[in-house]
């Protein structure tokens, strides 16, 4: 075991860890030692090829196929320099006041969060794409919304020099997406923060992190780790856990913090989602251009959000219900496909939680509540109307039997698309907005941390990622994660300069 000593160790390099790293860069410039450890590799620019299978393997935990304990939902999250900010589409929204106010966390105001979100939106070049950059997969969604009576809003996205590869979820091959891998981490490193890739935190003890650094596997993507492979004992005055909504609660539980923090791992939410496809009679621009330009927010009224999306052949095939000729016929229509993602705005529910196995690996227990299933059905009906409004000839709908509606059957949408058709383990549900598990609150009785991410009862230990959310955010979470991480960084600076 090799010993190292730092002032601050940050576990994770995604939206949370990357933000804390840059927030502590002024301390690094003053001679404080700040370390970021990232479990995944650091890829060179030319390694981002956009090839579906190889990029999924290189960038995602379990190649993007991490399953909940009962195997009924796939959870996608990045495991690479930049974490999930390397693999998301870059949509950047400020949380609604109603959501933050409903959390009712002492010391956390919507005004403060929104101000920090706007700061990071500026830092990440968040803006609306110009009309000429928007493809038909998106313009058809907007047109369908107008005809079906829904209000489509445009997503602000964090790109700079976007070529429209449509490959955002496989890591931008043109370095255009402004994730922490492109903005915060390089800036922090230039100012003296150290980043070690292929470094997994296996245990946290009092002001100490046990780290395992692994060699790069032969033939895999990414460079070698910055430290020699081996086991390290890294002492630090402050430890920041930013391993995401699965990694953080699992690591803290594996390290024994659960005994005095009964809420650790509880309150997991994830916006369960599925992909719907509609087939048009002609080819459309779908796998070129930014994939995600519009959304419909019906969270308050019906518990769902619709987003435009465009996926790749394997993910698309996996996301269609069933198998055989019908499934394949949609894939063979790929250039004519329009896609919509239906996300249910799930709420923190007893039993939906992150646990840990004996090896320290997260185990996610998740049950689809009736509210979630109803929201998915309502979102599916709305999507079918939007598809047909946009001129689609047929639509793949997982909550109908058979799972296909033709335009001539549009009048049957309400009777054909029913929550009763939802059978967990058969309907392909996935989630990428993983939240909760180390929720903020006022005491160990109701939460894991305070509003500044400080773990109750452990002044040297903070959390700075989406696990802090006490309930679902009902939008893409990354700007909010950055805002919360910025608060943690601010508090650490104050602690260390005191």
């Amino acid at each position: 075991m090799i010993d190292r000593e730092y002032d601050v160790v940050i576990i994770g390099s995604g939206a949370g860890g990357g933000t804390v790293a840059l927030g502590l860069a002024p301390l690094a410039e003053q001679g404080r030692r700040v370390l970021v450890i990232e479990q995944g590799p650091r890829l060179a620019d030319e390694e981002f090829t956009g090839e579906e299978i190889e990029m999924a393997e290189a960038l995602y935990a379990d190649s993007g196929g991490f399953l909940t304990a009962d195997g009924t939902m796939t959870l996608a999250f990045g495991r690479v320099y930049g974490g999930s900010t390397a693999v998301y589409t870059g949509t950047s929204l400020v949380p609604e006041p109603r959501v933050v106010e409903s959390w009712a966390i002492p010391g956390l105001s919507h005004t403060d969060l929104a101000e920090r979100c706007r700061h990071f939106a500026g830092q990440n070049n968040v803006h609306l794409l110009d009309p000429f950059e928007i493809n038909e997969n998106n313009t058809l969604f907007e047109a369908g919304c107008v005809r079906a009576g829904f209000e489509a809003r445009q997503f602000p996205v964090n790109v700079k020099g976007c070529r429209g590869s449509s490959l955002c979820n496989l890591g931008c091959p043109n370095a255009a997406k402004q994730g922490t891998d492109r903005v915060q981490l390089p800036a922090a490193e230039r100012r003296g923060v150290e980043v070690v890739s292929r470094a997994e935190a296996t245990r946290i003890e009092e002001k100490l992190v046990v780290v395992r650094v692994s060699a790069a596997p032969a033939g895999g993507k990414g460079g070698p780790p910055e430290w020699e492979p081996g086991e390290y004992r890294v002492r630090a005055g402050t430890v920041v856990v930013a391993g995401g909504a699965l990694g953080s609660p699992a690591l803290l539980q594996h390290s024994g913090f659960g005994e005095r923090l009964p809420r650790l791992g509880e309150g997991f939410t994830c916006h369960p989602a599925f992909i719907l496809v509609g087939e048009h009679s002609r080819e459309i621009t779908n796998d070129v251009g930014h994939p995600k330009s519009y959304y419909v927010d019906r969270a308050v009224e019906e518990g769902y959000v619709l987003e435009t999306c465009m996926y790749f052949p394997f993910v698309t095939a996996k996301s269609l219900i069933g198998f055989g000729a019908t499934n394949e016929s949609f894939l063979r229509a790929f250039p004519r496909l329009q896609m919509i993602l239906v996300l249910a705005c799930d709420r923190a529910t007893a039993g939906n939680r992150v646990a840990v196995d004996s090896g320290g690996r997260p185990v996610v227990h998740y049950r689809f509540t009736d509210e979630v299933v109803r929201a998915l059905a309502a979102g599916t009906r709305a999507s079918a109307r939007i598809f047909f409004g946009a001129g689609a000839e047929r639509v793949h709908v997982p909550l109908a039997s058979p799972p296909e509606l033709r335009a001539t059957e549009a009048s049957e949408i309400d009777e054909r698309i029913r929550p009763e058709h939802f059978l967990a383990g058969t309907v392909p549900v996935s989630a990428a907005h993983l939240m909760g598990g180390c929720g903020m609150g006022s005491s160990a009785g109701d939460s894991v941390t305070d509003s500044w991410g400080r773990v109750h009862g452990h002044s040297w230990l903070r959390v700075a990622d989406s696990s802090l959310f006490p309930d679902s955010l009902r939008i893409n979470p990354y700007l909010t994660i950055m805002a919360l991480a910025d608060r943690a960084a601010e508090a650490i600076r104050e602690d260390l300069l005191r």
């Binding site: 950059e133 020099g161 070529r163 091959p173 255009a176 052949p313 394949e328 383990g425």
Partner: protein, 151 residues
Amino acid sequence: MRSLAVTIVPGAARLDAEGWLDVEARIEAALRTRPPRLKRQLRLLVLALEWGPLLRHGRRFSRMDSARRTEILEGVQRSATPLLRRGFWGLRTLVLLGYYGRPDVRRSVGYRADPGGWAALMGDLTDGSDDVPDESDDVPDESNDGPGGGT
């Protein structure tokens, strides 16, 4: 396994011997990092699917016609036993990965995504410059079928 794969993706029937080896290699590669328990369960499921029909229908799965195979897999997919549904989900995912992971299959379904984005679509992607252009470089010529232009 191949009869299962063809039932899940009928297009796989067009694969030649080399193509099948490639699909199987992709599946093996995907399983390499998975827990041994999972691999054992999948092997058991494949065996059960192959030999189970012999008891009830008098024929192994691979000896049945495609309609009967589809019927059997649909039953497994909607089984009342969550473990069976989960197993079939995993099997189906692996077959789809092995098949749609092939570059020729992606091309054959018309998938056109390219790191060059709009420029590649319009066929005017020029030299091998690694420089990322500024956004003005991405503005397509309006005389071409650019984004929203009805291609």
